[in-house]
């Protein structure tokens, strides 16, 4: 039952808890529970696809994929919160300092890494021309021809690629987007 799991949560000292307040965790757990139709404490890809606004999002499948670690089909509440933690606003960093010296999940770099991984389909830390084309095709549907899409991909790689390997690495990705207000655009603010 719902209240049982909350007791377990309170006892937990996981890193993810540091990103959300108690009431926010309660709301997120309610949400997790309502999405979990199978009532087995974990969400599958189908559970996410049942959200209509996500199903019509052109990058819906890539976003859903971000929740699932390599090769797994289920995400538990910890993993759910961990992915959502990337979108916490950056000024809330006081709480997240603590368990280890590594960067907080919602830092600018980690937000950019989240976006990078949307493009990097095979998780080889490089965005190839082919991967860029596939993601572009997801976003534009049937409305742009292969040739035009190809030239857009070429132009994008040309702008970003500094070491001439015809693909975009994470550091090249960061450089291209250095002027974009990542903190504001990749953040979700809770009302309470």
């Amino acid at each position: 039952p719902l209240w049982c799991d909350k007791v377990l949560l309170r006892a937990s000292r996981r890193v993810e808890i540091a990103y959300f307040s108690h009431s926010q965790i309660t709301r997120l757990y309610s949400r997790f529970h309502s999405l979990d139709k199978g009532e087995n404490g974990a969400l599958s890809r189908e559970d996410f696809q049942r959200i209509p606004e996500l199903a019509i999002n052109p990058l819906g499948d890539r976003i859903i994929n971000a929740f699932f670690p390599e090769g797994e089909d289920q995400v538990n509440f910890r993993g759910f919160m961990r992915t959502l933690a990337h979108f916490r606003p950056v000024e809330d960093n006081e709480k997240s300092k603590g368990h280890d010296a590594s960067e907080p999940l919602n830092s600018r770099n980690n937000k950019l890494l989240f976006a990078f991984r949307l493009y990097d389909l095979d998780r080889d830390d490089k965005i190839s021309r082919d991967e860029l084309l596939q993601v572009l095709r997801m976003m534009v549907g049937v409305n742009i021809s292969d040739e035009q899409l190809g030239s857009i991909a070429d132009r994008t790689i040309q702008e970003a690629d500094t070491n001439g390997d015809m693909s975009i690495s994470f550091s090249e990705f960061i450089k291209v987007l250095e002027k974009v207000d990542v903190e504001q655009k990749m953040s979700i603010r809770f009302l309470h």
């Binding site: 719902l2 199903a55 019509i56 999002n57 976006a115 534009v140 990749m186 309470h192």
Partner: protein, 452 residues
């Protein structure tokens, strides 16, 4: 000797039980059923409601006091969880591209475009407009029912005692009473309509049929402790028209038929429902479709049109959403009812969740357990607004007309007006909506083609 004594004891027990049942039944008939049948009120329900409201107010006060002592803020569910920036795709992606020089044709692709889609996606994962409509509305303050006790904690002994007392009253006193009334109401409907059906067609038959229907729906309404406030009765649906309303539960029919006579539309069922349907149709025309007939849209529209064109027949009652929604919003109205022609009489129904949750979550509860839940709630309190009649305007197609009626109902009932299909409760969203988003984004990538 012993045997005789034992027999006497059991005889006495049976006699006592029988006389208790007789007293019970005559009380029910005399105090509730008869007045209900004739639309008269003895004030018992009003007194009950007054006591209930006072008790719930006290309970709310105690919970708030308890909460303040523990200093935890419970977020109000009606305000939403997250701040949603409802900027359009053009505005949001435009801001993302601010740092780049504008191209001559206005179109561009940047690696940061995905930020827009990922934020929108994550926002919908935390909170979306649609899936929350298919489960019961969360209450701001506990109303002393076990079933709504989700996020509320133990506050005080007095409150718990009150809750326990509530359980006893609801399950041991109110529920049997209501079940008795419902049974009487339904049997009276079946018997009454069958008897009236034996008469030849005449004005008297119609009048009697309306009387029988009204009486039994009134009994059923009492059987749910329904307190309904009807507003704007001058706009009540008239013969030869179509009454449309937002749908929350099967009880909607009882609520509306308590105040007027309608021709029901629906699928033919088996079992008890089937018996009721067959007897109802004997006394006045209702429209029941076989499952196979429902698939033929033209047949359905034609039958409804024939009924509506006959100005002596009762107004049809239709719920264009096609499924039960949780009464916080109105979802897409299916255009079928709006293609029939004829005058539309919109009706808005809003239940007060404090006294009982009327929403039928058909995925969680079947009809019987749902009705039992209804009968063990405090009461069903709702407001019904009759809106002025609407007809299709020149140059307006059925979909636009349906949306216009839907907005009027949503506005009156204080409900959120959504364009999403209620069918999303069970089905996946159509791909065409995703294609629309892709098309919108494509025009931002390609830019304004007219400049070549």
């Amino acid at each position: 000797h012993m045997d005789l004594n034992q027999q006497n004891c059991t005889n006495d027990a049976w006699g006592a039980a029988r006389s208790a049942a007789q007293v019970w039944l005559s009380l029910v008939v005399g105090l509730i059923m008869l007045p209900a049948m004739f639309g008269v009120s003895l004030g018992i329900t009003e007194t009950y409601m007054k006591v209930l409201i006072k008790t719930l107010k006290w309970a709310t006060f105690r919970i708030q006091k308890g909460r303040r002592e523990r200093e935890t803020l419970k977020p109000s569910p009606s305000n939403g969880i997250i701040q949603r920036d409802d900027g359009s795709m053009e505005k949001e992606i435009g801001e993302l591209r601010r740092s780049r020089p504008k191209r001559p044709d206005g179109g561009d692709f940047t690696l940061s475009d995905v930020f827009y889609f990922s934020r929108k996606g994550l926002e919908s994962i935390v909170e979306d407009e649609v899936t929350q409509r298919f489960s019961s509305e969360e209450l701001v303050s506990w109303n002393l029912l076990t079933r709504t006790n989700n996020n509320f904690h133990y506050v005080s002994l007095r409150l718990t005692v009150l809750w326990g007392l509530g359980v006893v009253i609801r399950y041991c006193i109110l529920a049997p009473l209501r079940i008795t009334l419902a049974a009487i109401g339904i049997s009276w409907l079946v018997i009454g309509t069958t008897v009236v059906g034996l008469l030849p067609s005449s004005r008297v038959k119609n009048w009697l049929s309306e009387l029988v229907h009204l009486m039994c729906y009134r009994i059923c309404a009492r059987g749910l402790s329904a307190t309904v406030h009807y507003h704007n009765k001058q706009n009540r649906p008239r013969k030869g028209g179509i009454c449309v309303a937002n749908h929350t539960s099967p009880i909607d029919v009882v609520i509306l038929a308590n105040d007027g006579c309608y021709a029901m539309v629906g699928q033919v069922h088996g079992g008890l429902m089937g018996v009721i349907q067959r007897s109802m149709v004997k006394s006045c025309p209702h429209i029941w479709f076989e499952r196979s007939e429902m698939k033929d849209r033209h047949l359905v529209t034609q039958r409804l049109r024939d009924h509506v064109n006959d100005k002596t027949k009762l107004p049809i009652l239709i719920f264009p959403e096609g499924t039960c929604i949780n009464n916080t919003s109105v979802m897409m109205f299916k255009k079928g009812s709006f293609e029939i022609g004829g005058t539309i009489y919109p009706v808005a129904i809003k239940y007060d969740p404090q006294f009982g949750d009327a929403f039928w979550n058909s995925a969680k509860y079947n009809m019987v357990s749902y009705l039992l839940r209804m009968m063990t709630s405090w009461a069903i309190v709702c407001n019904v607004w009759y809106l002025p009649a609407m007809t299709q305007m020149e140059g307006e197609d059925a979909v636009q007309f349906a949306n216009r009626v839907k907005s009027a109902i949503a506005r009156q009932g204080g409900l959120v007006d959504l364009s999403w299909d209620g069918g999303l409760k069970r089905d996946k969203v159509k791909n065409t909506f995703k294609e629309l988003e892709q098309k919108k984004y494509s025009s931002m990538v390609v830019g304004d083609d007219s400049s070549d």
